[in-house]
Symmetry: C2
Subunit: 159 residues, 2 copies
């Protein structure tokens, strides 16, 4: 997958066309998007601004700054929504452009001992579970606002 | 879970009692263990030396050094086994002591587009799949040696 057919590169090229609530924060080396599965309240996807496949393909200083941004976003999700545990995952099996899935896990989630991917796979054939994991009813702008306020209080860098 | 009943703290306290092939590398801020699922050839678990739940609970300098070690181990796995893609995951749902799962994914894996957790969950009720994912027949010391040689060539820091 090259930059021309990469869905992350496409989103990053035209951030202003996205709804305001979908872009949580524009960091210098990455952009945080509100993720689709808001049963995991505060779930974000943090896409690197560079189209690279692996962390060690980034120059050292860029990689460290990108990871600082990831940790700061994780801290903001934690402060805003008080999860039981955070799951930080950089997979890229479908889209090999560096991005982190930051999933806050709730102590009330009966599946809290398992990776989220088992529930998300089950939701593919279960519309009711899918709606539950999407977090309906949900106020996505309010979630994005809470994250932005926390990132502001943490003095998160902006591009 | 406190340090006294944490399985990672227990392993880290007594590394010399483990088989040599199981401890891949002793970094200053973490220790790399060879993981059980060697169908993902080179799979390692990188446990932080400190018993902390989240990355942002570590002091900045310790966190950055730990993440540098994670990236170097990922690079070594990549150089030694040439995976199609690496999956880097810090979950801690069962053991909330910081650790990375570094899963190299093969282009020949029919499930390469999915997180490994789906296959690993299926293996719980399928002994044949379990044996396949454990990577049998397998020479674990040879895998550990290949990783150590690569880490040496990358000048990885040692504790």
């Amino acid at each position: 997958m090259s930059q021309t057919d990469c869905p992350f590169c496409e989103k990053l090229r035209d951030l202003s066309s996205l709804q305001a609530s979908e872009v949580v924060w524009r960091f210098p080396y990455s952009v945080a998007f509100l993720g689709p599965w808001q049963f995991y309240r505060g779930y974000c996807v943090l896409a690197a601004r560079s189209h690279e496949r692996e962390l060690f393909h980034l120059p050292d200083e860029v990689r460290r700054a990108y990871l600082d941004e990831m940790c700061l976003l994780a801290q903001a999700i934690d402060q805003a929504f008080h999860p039981h545990k955070l799951n930080c995952e950089s997979l890229g099996n479908q889209v090999p452009h560096l991005h982190w899935h930051l999933f806050p896990r709730s102590g009330d989630d009966p599946d809290r001992l398992s990776p989220v991917w088992l529930a998300l796979a089950a939701a593919e054939s279960d519309p009711e579970l899918r709606r539950r994991l999407e977090g309906e009813p949900i106020d996505r702008p309010a979630i994005a606002t809470a994250l932005r306020q926390t990132l502001t209080s943490l003095k998160a860098p902006r591009a």
